[in-house]
Symmetry: C2
Subunit: 336 residues, 2 copies
Amino acid sequence: MRFETSTIKDIAKALGLSTSTVSRALRDRYEISEETKKLVLAYAEKVNYRANPIARSLKERRSYSIGIIVSEIANNFFSQVINGIESIAYDKDYHVIISQSHESYKQEKLNVEHLASRSIDGLLIALSSETQDIDYLRDLYAKGLPIVFFDRVPKDFETHKVIANNFKGSFDATEHLILSGKRTIAHLTNSENLSITKERLEGYKAALIKYHIEFRPELVKYCQHGGMHSAELEQAVKELLPLQPDGIFISSDRLTTGCIMALKKTNPEVAHKIAIAGFTNSNLVELFSPSLTSVKQPAFEMGQVATELLISMIEAKRPVTEFETKVLDTELVKKR
Amino acid sequence: MRFETSTIKDIAKALGLSTSTVSRALRDRYEISEETKKLVLAYAEKVNYRANPIARSLKERRSYSIGIIVSEIANNFFSQVINGIESIAYDKDYHVIISQSHESYKQEKLNVEHLASRSIDGLLIALSSETQDIDYLRDLYAKGLPIVFFDRVPKDFETHKVIANNFKGSFDATEHLILSGKRTIAHLTNSENLSITKERLEGYKAALIKYHIEFRPELVKYCQHGGMHSAELEQAVKELLPLQPDGIFISSDRLTTGCIMALKKTNPEVAHKIAIAGFTNSNLVELFSPSLTSVKQPAFEMGQVATELLISMIEAKRPVTEFETKVLDTELVKKR
DNA sequence: TACGTTTTTGGGAACGTTTGCACAGTTTTT
DNA sequence: AAAAACTGTGCAAACGTTCCCAAAAACGTA
């Protein structure tokens, strides 16, 4: 803001002290006498002094803010993660800056670099579905920027990661479809680049194996853009239907809702005949028709855990070398 | 970030120039010879120089960032508005910082003040449902912080505002219910504090009047927390049902979905018998059961317009004194 | 050659903090 | 009584920019 507000200098002048004394008093340093502290604090209160975070950032070379990159905030899963992140960050006096990649690699890179130049102290990121090359993240990391990945994590990058138990979530959902009598279960999923895609595919396969159902690759459809384009989804559905699946297991929030939408739009007559199980954190699932079985991720908790890990890295005295990958359990909410 | 990156000083030293020259060359000022400019630019490129926005902010006393306050990002309407805001902001080289009030006055005030202290150049805000006292905003505004309100706007605050045509949206929705034969139409709405609540109530009333239907105050239920607490909603529904409405007109995104949820939960047998029309920007409306008629706000556009107005205020040479209130039309999407 | 212009560059202060170091005054130790 | 230690404060530099002002270089003209 370009309007006047009181500064340490002003306080110093008014009280006949030096800026250093005022600064130290405000930060409650031991060197300053109780008397002076009280004086300064009282006056600061009176003139409604607010420290200038910009100046502080410049001097300290850190900003007490952490960057978040998600593909989009208009996604139940991610907005819940963000709420989890905020809940911890604010507690520990960090501010958060949210950016959306819209599933675009270019946008993701641009945003990350912008955040980095704004002196964020750390980064929480779920990769875009397009992202394959994460060298730009490696560079930043090497230069000292703490990074914690969540949900969509890279394989060969040594740092903290927080993910859902995707294998088990998928296994459970697929098993549930099988147990309700389905035998031709399609799998609609995200870009092959993503970690979640691989893990969820494995869970799906494992459930098929357990019940001696043949895995048919043609029943698996990948969506490069994670369902951002409805044409992509409709195409996938169109290719799937001739194979006459009696169940579909879908591996992401956006794909799940998008797929039902596409089904209803293109083939309303079969929409209700196909059993659907899918990952989604929508809290409106109960309203959906056809209804579905959903795999819910502990989104809020994921945000919290990731943030705690990140802040521990930021505040670590010495470089962190032991990394953990936290795996959180999903919840299967069966169709009514 | 606390790691080394090249600065203007480094470039100056390397090239045997002064920092002033380098700074000017980088900003392409007329005083600098083409030759020097090329030299500097090439070297800057080579060492991957990035200007430090923090330093720039401190010096220029502005941050090229704008603050956004919404009640929550996990809301279709608001996340679409944010996308609209971003689309314009990025174009004009502004960064955005999003904060959530969670419909709490205290949180809203805290967030705004935090943003202000971070030197945002302007503020875009939709008031929380609890907010009645906006003096803190007046203070900031008086000190020179440009503010543009959208969606939920205060009455007596002279600045730009962007709203939907709430009156017409409500009128249309209510009329639609009437035309499909409903006569006992309840109205479920937000906190009375909000501008949108008043405007939408007027539209509802006007439609009743047009068709000579008596307005019955007991059919109107207010939710103080805008549906953030499901108990509140269930209570409202519980009080409404004995009056045997054959239609309900609901005045906000969260309330609309929440109400259907509450209806299904508490009275599944009547849920499908009551016709519902409500404001919502959910793109999943087609999946809902019972299905409903929805009033869609031009959220993305609202974000764009508000941002353009804000940036025009920020960049105005002299204080702006002529303010506009832009009203954007809603769209009625009839139940299938 | 000397001068005035114009063009290009550099010096240095400022933005609001934090912090290492020095220093004065007081208290403790020997 | 002198030396040592501790307390509380101030000076000044630094963070990376921008920009006012002055100075130097280049050019033109008499």
